[in-house]
């Protein structure tokens, strides 16, 4: 029982990351009709926002104290980061909480990157075949990835969660079940965070006028345009929004997985499987397929399961994708007539 709950929790945070990336992919596909292979690169860029913020906060001021000497007789060097030196306790707090703080930076940065990408490149591909869109965004993903590699190197750069959340939570004690289930705090936070973001995006689309217009545009772009609404501009904003969602998903994922230049591609392939399993163009499908596949993957990595089907943990996602696509042609919740030409 404990093992099952633990695996369930394990699946939730990974599923959260899949769901957030797949949500952005589906948003872009549903509004602009573009298959964006560079979406994983946006996830990666978000993660590197966290790296940059952390680097800036950790610039150090080295002062030499002439009074104190080390055992070797040289003056002691006291290293304090500028943030701490200038802002005192608040600075220390900033350094500790660099990952969540990065979100504040990542949101405008990713919005800008998203809008530039859409206006500069993707816009010219609305009327080109899907294969062309896939290829040009694939090329863009390679370029972004290589630029990041050129500046940050090929090695993963570990980031730490705030000290408060670095440990593990005793979940079973909270539920009054004894001490058997212990789970890292940050992963729980990641799940809650992704759930909050998903809820926010859905609320934005469902309860605001802006979102209503966007949904109407997803259904019938021409009619909305005929009503005198500049739907193109709104879709651009939606592309920016998708970039932000991918970016913050990347920022918060850094303490779980040290970011490196190809993390985007690794997630992208899985996220595409997630989107297709959920059904192209269905937001609910993307989210539920994300969590479903995340949880299935973590159950498949249990030793008991592996003993029966060796190697199942490696292929479960793809296996599920194949089975679902063969039994449900449009994925879990796909609409008809999308991407079938």
């Amino acid at each position: 029982m404990d093992a099952i709950i633990l695996q369930f929790l394990n699946g939730l945070d990974k599923g959260g990351a899949y769901a957030l990336i797949a949500l952005g992919l589906t948003l872009v596909f549903g509004t602009l009709g573009v298959v964006n292979f560079a979406h994983g690169a946006l996830f990666m860029l978000g993660a590197f926002c966290a790296v940059i913020v952390n680097k800036i906060l950790n610039f150090q001021l080295i002062t030499i104290d002439p009074e104190k000497k080390t055992a070797w007789g040289t003056p002691v060097e006291i290293k304090t980061s500028y943030a701490e030196a200038w802002l005192g306790d608040f600075g220390a707090f900033l350094v500790d909480y660099s990952v969540p703080v990065s979100i504040l930076i990542a949101v405008p940065v990713m919005l800008l990157i998203g809008i530039i990408m859409e206006r500069g490149l993707i816009r010219h591909f609305y009327n080109r075949p899907h294969a062309d869109q896939i290829l040009v965004t694939f090329g863009l993903a390679i370029v972004i990835q290589e630029l990041i590699k050129a500046y940050f190197g090929a090695n993963p750069i570990p980031q730490t969660a705030p000290a408060e959340f670095a440990g593990s939570a005793n979940i079973s004690a909270m539920l009054g079940l004894g001490d058997s289930i212990v789970y890292p705090w940050w992963r729980i936070i990641y799940f809650l965070f992704s759930a909050a973001i998903i809820a926010a995006v859905f609320a934005f689309l469902q309860f605001t006028t802006y979102g209503m217009v966007v949904r109407a545009g997803m259904r019938d772009r021409e009619t909305v345009g005929l009503l005198g609404i500049n739907i193109e501009r709104r879709f651009t904003v939606i592309f920016g929004l998708a970039a932000v969602v991918a970016g913050v998903a990347g920022v918060m994922y850094t303490p779980i997985l040290p970011p490196d230049y190809h993390m985007g591609m690794d997630f992208l392939v899985l996220s595409f499987v997630v989107v297709v399993v959920g059904g192209m163009g269905s937001l609910g499908g993307a989210v539920s397929a994300g969590f479903l596949l995340g949880i299935l993957q973590s159950f498949a990595s249990m030793n008991e399961v592996k003993a029966i089907f060796p190697g199942i943990d490696q292929i479960i996602i793809y296996l599920v994708a194949v089975v679902i696509l063969l039994t449900l042609p449009r994925g879990l919740m796909g609409r008809s007539g999308v991407m079938e030409e």
């Binding site: 298959v35 370029v143 392939v269 060796p310 292929i315 793809y318 991407m339």
Partner: protein
Amino acid sequence: MTTTAKKQRPEWLTLVIFTAAILSMPIWASVIGAGYPDLLQKFAIYGIFAIGFNILFGLTGYLSFGHAAFLGIGSYAAVWSFKLFTMNVIPAVIFAILFAALFALVIGYISLRRSGIYFSILTLAFAQMSYNLAYSVLTPITNGETGLQLTQQDPRWIDNAFSNAVSDGLPITNFFGIKMSGYEGFYFCATLLIFCFWISMRVFNSPFGMMLKGIKSNQTRMSYTGFNTRPYTLAAFVISGMYAGLAGALLAVTDPLAGAERMQWTASGEVVLMTILGGVGTLIGPLLGAGLIKYFENIFSAINDNVLNAFFSFLPESLQGLFTSLFSLFVGKGWHLTLGVLFMLIVIFLPGGLMEGFRRIGNLFNKKPKGEQS
């Protein structure tokens, strides 16, 4: 697709020109600094891979993102043939093609039930499954991360039945006694490349090829005319899978080592890039694309800062440093960046690939009379 109104050149002439160009490659490739056998072998091998991929993608329009799986399967089958039977390359090639065809038949039969992006994802899923399994559970067959390689203890039943000579060092692959390394290896690959090109040309000009082109332009209409399109697409899938298997076998022939990373989706992506870069649906385009990418990989990645410094040494010192640091982004380890930029430019400005570029240049020089544009 790109049939011009020009009078069709007879097939035998194309083949003769092609053969001459390929066989004289060691001579003219050395002009552009590519005249060493390792690289020439790669040109030929990846050329076969891309030509095969083009039979599926170029003719039927089905974009497979999992073709590298067949390349890997071909390699493994070839290396196992070296290990178990003989170092002769002919059985290895035959085994590789058979195994790749078998897998292509199964995977194609399942994947071709869907089209569009669903087909791409299905092929991707199968390729990733093969890759992950080759890495983990199938280690007894694939030797996992280390890669499958020859050892001195291999049984090699057929070879050992004929000779008892104890050799020191690892045996080398051979074609009835001719060692498959250096230029001999290249000419072996080149012969197969010419053969593959001939088959691909026959497919393009055959009724079967016309059928595939019909499926690409309008599958629904093809079905309405009474054709069951599935067997045709499946045949195209299996043929291109066999090409990939052959390419994998040749990789093993020139260097008897098979690793799982050959099956990863990035490898599948590479062959898509090659085909697009050269020109989808053209006969010679994919080969050009393959050559170009392999050329860049070898030449550009070999350039380092010293070479750049020497190249820009005619500039004043400050500019020299600037140019060197700017260009070093694009060469050496960063050659993928060049590839990405080049690829984006091609897709944006020249959707038909290099072949369309050549055609446009050609059109500038000989303007066709009006009304003949097809």
